[in-house]
């Protein structure tokens, strides 16, 4: 789960991680009020969306007066911000973070992530702050310091020293940096973060260390023990169909193509998308109804696929294991009865209770296209949408 920068900074505050003075604003008037309370110019007006690259996209601007704050806030709130992470359609900005401008001496990079290969928590830091860290990693990997923390032992003093000295910090900055890293690590573990990133982390002219930016993602699997984080969810940042699907515990991702597809199991669902593409069409979605899906879930999944206006044909690919083919067939028939399926549907079923499933579909009176195997299914649906 993703949250906004201003929400991540609320957590930083709770963990005594230094951030610039500031506040969130949903209108130009609110932005003026926040700016007025900061006690000095310039201030920074930052668009709040769940995507990186906001600065380059024109969503982060410096204001030197109340008039400028008013003008910039009016411009940014309501704009459609396009960055390398939003896709060409961009994202509508609904709020800004207004913060005190700082006298910056140096920009650093710091992040914490779980490393899947070593099963350790990795802290990464670099003197090349403010840049795309993937680019730094590709061009000059020696500029990135990594320390690996065993989650059973936790963060040790030497980890922090390796980072501090590796970043060539002055003694005054080291004194501020080490407790900050300890607090960040505590936050990371306490909240089951899957990414905690500060880019840039700045050293000010006065040698203080301040998190100018803040990005936190959470492990969805751990949200059950962090009910307070759920309040941070912003459904405006999510695809409406994906929000709808999440209500039914369906793994749905909206894509750009026109072949809707419903599959059980994530791996088979991905492979089915690939097959659609290889047959010359484009998948409109990823939808894994899960190993133990009920007829109800199948029905809702189909309804969500059908509400995507781009969908011109549907491929249902089920390998019955725990999800039995008759359960699937019942769900399809229900969905057809309730919503009316107006696009052609190709069905490929195999596995548990396949005969019963085929019988239910055949007796339903629905005009479904049966497929003999995977290849056949992909070719048939691709031919339909052409």
């Amino acid at each position: 789960m993703k949250i906004h920068e201003y929400q991540a900074k609320e957590l930083f505050k709770k963990y005594r991680i230094p951030i610039p003075a500031g506040g969130v604003a949903f209108s130009a008037d609110e932005a003026l009020m926040v700016a007025g309370g900061l006690g000095g110019w310039p201030v920074v007006v930052k668009a709040q969306i769940h995507a990186g690259g906001r600065g380059k996209g024109g969503g982060v601007k410096l204001a030197r007066s109340a008039d400028e704050v008013n003008k910039l806030a009016n411009e940014i709130i309501g704009m459609t911000l396009v960055t390398h992470q939003t896709g060409p359609e961009g994202r509508r900005v609904r709020k800004v973070l207004v913060e005190q401008g700082l006298n910056i001496r140096k920009e650093l990079y710091l992040s914490i992530i779980p490393d899947r290969v070593t099963a350790k928590i990795v802290i990464m830091a670099s003197e090349a702050g403010g840049m795309d860290i993937e680019e730094v990693a590709a061009r000059s990997p020696e500029k990135i310091i990594k320390v690996f923390v065993n989650p059973l032992l936790g963060l040790q003093g030497y980890h922090c020293r390796q980072l501090a000295y590796g970043l060539n910090l002055a003694p005054a900055a080291i004194k501020a940096f080490i407790p900050m890293v300890q607090n960040l690590f505590r936050l990371f573990v306490d909240y089951d973060c899957s990414l905690l990133e500060i880019n840039p982390l700045v050293i000010t002219a006065a040698e203080t260390v301040i998190a100018l930016d803040a990005k936190i993602n959470f492990d969805d699997n751990a949200l059950f023990r962090h009910q307070d984080i759920l309040a941070f969810r912003d459904v405006d940042e999510e695809d409406p169909l994906e929000v709808e699907a999440s209500k039914f515990n369906l793994n749905y991702i909206n894509l750009e193509g026109n072949v809707g597809n419903m599959v059980n199991g994530a791996g088979l669902a991905m492979a089915t998308m690939d097959l659609i593409k290889q047959a010359g069409a484009e998948p409109a979605n990823f939808l894994d109804v899960g190993g133990g899906a009920s007829a109800d879930m199948v029905e809702n999944g189909l309804r969500i696929i059908l509400s995507d206006k781009n969908v011109k044909g549907i491929l249902i690919n089920i390998f019955g294991g725990i999800l039995r083919c008759d359960t699937l067939a019942t769900g399809v028939v229900e969905a057809a009865r309730k919503t009316g399926i107006k696009v052609p549907v190709v069905v490929r079923m195999e596995g548990t209770n396949v005969e019963a499933g085929r019988r239910i579909l055949a007796e339903s009176g629905l005009s479904l296209v049966a497929a003999a195997d995977l290849k056949d299914a992909a070719c048939k649906v691709a031919a339909i949408v052409k």
Partner: protein, 290 residues
């Protein structure tokens, strides 16, 4: 022969009295698997289809000689269940549970490292040696006993698809293992490939990967250096958009790493027979393995 499990494997089911636990215990036992015990805290003395239930894994091991545990415990308590089994002297833990927090799994992985135990999963369909033992949730009917092909996969239903196509080609399986779709798991591709290479009854392997991480690249390197048996590889997720979690917690392209294209390139470079179209996998197996 087979790898990791056979007809002598003695299974304790953790979470046996739950809905899923009961359902799959029945199916495993019906297949011929020796399910000798179950564990649900507070339910010692009960039985599930005449299988005795114990409060702790330690009790189950002591009284039944179980050496393998099949875990259906819900995510908040699953790490605890795995560690309990490891401490009780279980040598093989098969964790079916989907949705265990990554931090929990990282702790488990570090805790069992160096111990004489193997963890398969989590978030996996389990392991089956056709004709001998089914320790998991896979549909039994699609498998063909007797080998000579081993299957190892990160996905559940995709494994069923592969096994089904093998069976349709008249090719049997020695052992089929789902290693799970989570970013941090116990047994990896290399562990399984090494075991298949050693198993005299296995003459080739189908390896099924997907986007995210670099387990397939590591496996390709191992295959090139250490395997004499032919390997067919398939990678799901060529059309997956970057930065999105494709159902499995571990199936995500981060920045430019973990793409299907990179994995396929690494596998081809290592001399693996890469199948790029799932519909054609059976045919390729027929050609390579016969």
């Amino acid at each position: 022969m087979s790898i990791f499990v056979n007809k002598d494997t003695r299974v304790v089911v953790q979470g046996i009295t739950g809905k899923e636990g009961q359902f799959h215990t029945r199916n495993c036992a019906a297949y011929g698997t020796q399910v000798v015990a179950g564990v649900t805290p507070g339910k010692a003395g009960q039985t599930v289809d005449a299988i005795p239930v114990f409060n702790t894994v330690a009790d189950a091991v002591r009284q039944t000689g179980a050496d393998c545990s099949l875990i259906f415990v819900p995510p908040p308590f699953a790490a605890d269940a795995i560690l309990e089994a490891a401490d009780a002297g279980i040598r093989l833990m098969v964790a079916i549970t989907e949705g265990i927090p990554v931090l929990d799994m990282m702790k488990v992985k570090n805790a069992i490292e160096g111990k004489p135990v193997r963890l398969i999963g989590p978030n996996c369909p389990g392991i089956i040696t056709p004709g001998e033992a089914k320790i998991g949730i896979m549909p039994a009917s699609i498998h063909t006993p007797g080998g000579p092909i081993g299957v190892v996969s990160r996905s559940g239903t995709l494994t069923y698809e592969v096994v089904h196509q093998l069976t349709q080609q008249g090719i049997g399986q020695t052992t089929c293992i789902g290693i799970g779709g989570d970013p941090v798991n116990g047994t990896n591709f290399v562990d399984c490939l090494a075991a298949f290479e050693k198993d005299p009854d296995t003459s080739g392997v189908v390896m099924v990967g997907e986007i995210g991480g670099n387990a397939e690249e590591t496996a390709a390197e191992f295959i090139q250096k250490h395997m004499t048996k032919p390997v067919i590889g398939f990678i799901a997720g060529l059309t997956a958009p970057p930065g999105r979690r494709m159902g499995h917690a571990g199936a995500i392209i981060s920045g430019s790493s973990g793409t299907a294209q990179a994995k396929i390139a690494a596998m081809k470079a290592a001399g693996i027979h890469v199948c790029e179209n799932l519909g054609a996998l059976g045919d390729l197996c027929g050609k390579v393995f016969k």
